[in-house]
Amino acid sequence: MARIEKPPEGSWTAHYPELGTGPVSYEDSISPEIHELEREAIFKRSWLNVGRVEQLPRKGSYFTKELAVANTSIVVVRGMDGEVRAFHNICRHRGNKLVWTDFPGEETSGSCRQFVCKYHGWKYEVDGACSFVQQESEFFDLDKSDYGLIPVHCDVWSGFIFVNLEDEPRQSLRDFLGPMTTAIEGYPFHLQTERFSYRAVVHANWKLFIDAFQEFYHAPVLHARQSPVAALPEVQAAGFEALHYQLDGPHRLVTTTVGEGWRMPPEMLKPMETVTRSGLFGPWDAPDLGPDPLPAGVNPADRKHWGLDSFQVWPNFVILIWERGWYLTYHYWPTSHNAHVFEGNLYFVPPKTARERLAQEMAAVTFKEYALQDGNTLEATQTMLESRVVTAFPLNDQEILCRHLHKVAADWVDDYTRERVEVGAR
């Protein structure tokens, strides 16, 4: 018996009939061929979040981003005019990677007035213009103005920097993000600049980790021992129900409650949670986020007891907003059909006191305890999916977002394949 009211159709899934309710194939998570199509159809045609404006605090601040999934590396830089731009990270002379430190494959960041190629000393302004060619007179009819860095479409929304690798993006960033996500515009991301930045290589398809963090059906089971509360038999028996699910084009949302530690008796909590007044769901004492009400897109169904909104922004970006006044982001960067780089960033209002700082530490350490269990389970899933012993998997109503993700991925691959056929037929 559902404790939380579902849409009139009887289930969240039926509310979106295009999803169907049948078993789902996970072939898209184990096939190298499908992965190659996804690279072209999805990652080279979507707006991809590569960071935040706080990473570029000054004119000349830059960072590089390895986009192995799209066979490139980019450098994102704030110009002397204050504009944020992105370029392919390649020298126009003989193709050396332009910006890197010690290890060409590792991302780097810093601040400079010009980029200088390590190979032959060509120089580029931070707006991309080629400004110096070593022994220019040795070249033949070379006009420096023809040899600027190759730009990548770049736009900023709510402080999040996005790039798009298409020659001409088919949608503006705002249109791409759609009404559900843009409705959180005005949320005070800019006040939450205290950052914990995690990274791991996970030996599983990128969509499997998205699945793991976009359903909470697993939480009372996989993480049962993490909390005295979750381990209670009645909690496990009750399972999990989300407050609200919503789909908007390729994007997804789940709103749910959290464990309200500040309302629980101490025996339901870890002693360290009581001392720090913090835990998985963040510091119990919310910071001051300013006088303005939160935008309507936060807790969009206006549910009582909302604890978090998890915005699953297509294709590989998550913004998770907590009721307690902090947020986190996830990114999943494919490196092959069965591996990806996972990035998790936790953002808090900078602490004013040691007590506030310790509460944030508690939240961050707890986050990692859970994420380690999630990450490890993924590798166990990947290896057995690859056995193809089972090829159809039943997904329940609390897994609607998993169903949607795999459908959208397939739809984008289909669209791409169809366009290719049409171009070929012409």
Binding site: R225, R355, E361, K368, L372
Partner: protein
């Protein structure tokens, strides 16, 4: 007797300072994964009852202008958070069912 690392009020915790006053999560996590449970239990038992007092002590200072001994006390509190999981929950250093999984913290607040 080596020089005191912690504020005088917390001198009873000096035996743990060399091991647990660590500035980064990477070091604290590595320490937690390699130290025997008995040692982490002893650290927890000695420090947990005084944790609130230690927080109040650190709160007397601006976060970005803490004396070295207070900053080390704060690092000791971070380590208490770190060992609280093995001690309070897991009864072992590593997270159950986490196997070969890892998650590196590349950027973290200072202090």
């Amino acid at each position: 007797m080596s020089e005191a690392r912690l504020p005088g009020e917390f001198s009873e915790l000096e035996p743990f300072a060399a091991t647990w006053c660590l500035p980064t999560e990477r070091e604290r996590f590595a320490q937690r994964m390699t130290r025997p449970m008995e040692e982490m239990q002893a650290f927890y038992d000695a420090f947990f009852p005084r944790a609130e007092e230690a927080i109040q002590y650190c709160d007397k200072f601006e976060l970005d202008d803490m004396p070295d001994d207070a900053q080390r006390l704060l690092q000791l509190l971070y380590s208490l958070v770190m060992v609280s999981f093995p001690v309070e929950v897991w009864r072992q250093p590593h997270v159950p069912d986490s196997g070969a999984a890892y998650l590196d913290l590349l950027i973290e607040p200072i202090p």
